[in-house]
Symmetry: C2
Subunit: 133 residues, 2 copies
């Protein structure tokens, strides 16, 4: 049987080593990551206004992202009376908490991969090869 | 002087505690985060095909994201001959490395904030209040 190519075999990089598929897009978006981190730190929920201030978002932006999170069932939104004023309360759901924790594990892997690379001395002074990565 | 509001003062959450403005959008996008982590681990650069496999991307997706990174001057793209075949080499720039390291510091803060919240026992059993967050 004839060989199709005369190109010498070259070591292939480990497939999808840096794909990070577990970085859940619903959570990974910057504003939503801040919102969910804020909500996970406040398990009893946060009023709309507090969440807005904590995340430095406008009313419109916060509403838009809350809708995405509510549709994905990771956040629950309810109305209640605080004194005589209606208040919108935002809470992370049990599903949201689970997805967030899973997401966090992948984020930690990114940090580990990155830190290992960043701490490596510049090319030329390295004794270790990255070819196996 | 008259007080404008009779509403009792309520402790305000620390402004923008969870805003994470340092999460550079050029880097934070999932595919680009994988690409840059891969490139920072390979300071001599990676051929287009290797980067594609490492990040689990299609030709089209990789090209599109490389263009964003090149426009932002965080990645440098050059052509060279490998044997007799032209090869596209992708490398992170010094600016890219700096921005990536800055980004990483914010990402670590997200992890710290999140881990602190996730490890907290459920509401009701907590001795610590999150009100100061």
């Amino acid at each position: 049987m004839k060989k199709r190519s005369v190109k010498p075999p070259r070591e292939q990089p480990r497939e999808q080593r840096f794909a990070y598929d577990g970085l859940d897009r619903v959570i990974h978006e910057r504003a939503r990551l801040g919102m969910l981190t804020s909500l996970i730190a406040h398990p009893k929920g946060l009023p709309f206004g507090d969440l807005k201030r904590l995340c430095g978002l406008t009313d419109g932006n916060l509403s838009r992202h809350l809708q995405v999170l509510q549709t994905a069932k990771v956040v629950d939104i309810s109305k209640r009376l605080e004194g005589n004023r209606p208040q919108t309360l935002c809470r992370i759901t049990a599903l949201g908490r689970k997805r967030y924790v899973d997401y966090l594990a992948v984020l930690e892997q990114v940090i580990l991969d990155a830190a290992a690379a960043v701490e490596t001395p510049p090319a030329g002074k390295r004794s270790r090869s990255f070819a196996q990565l």
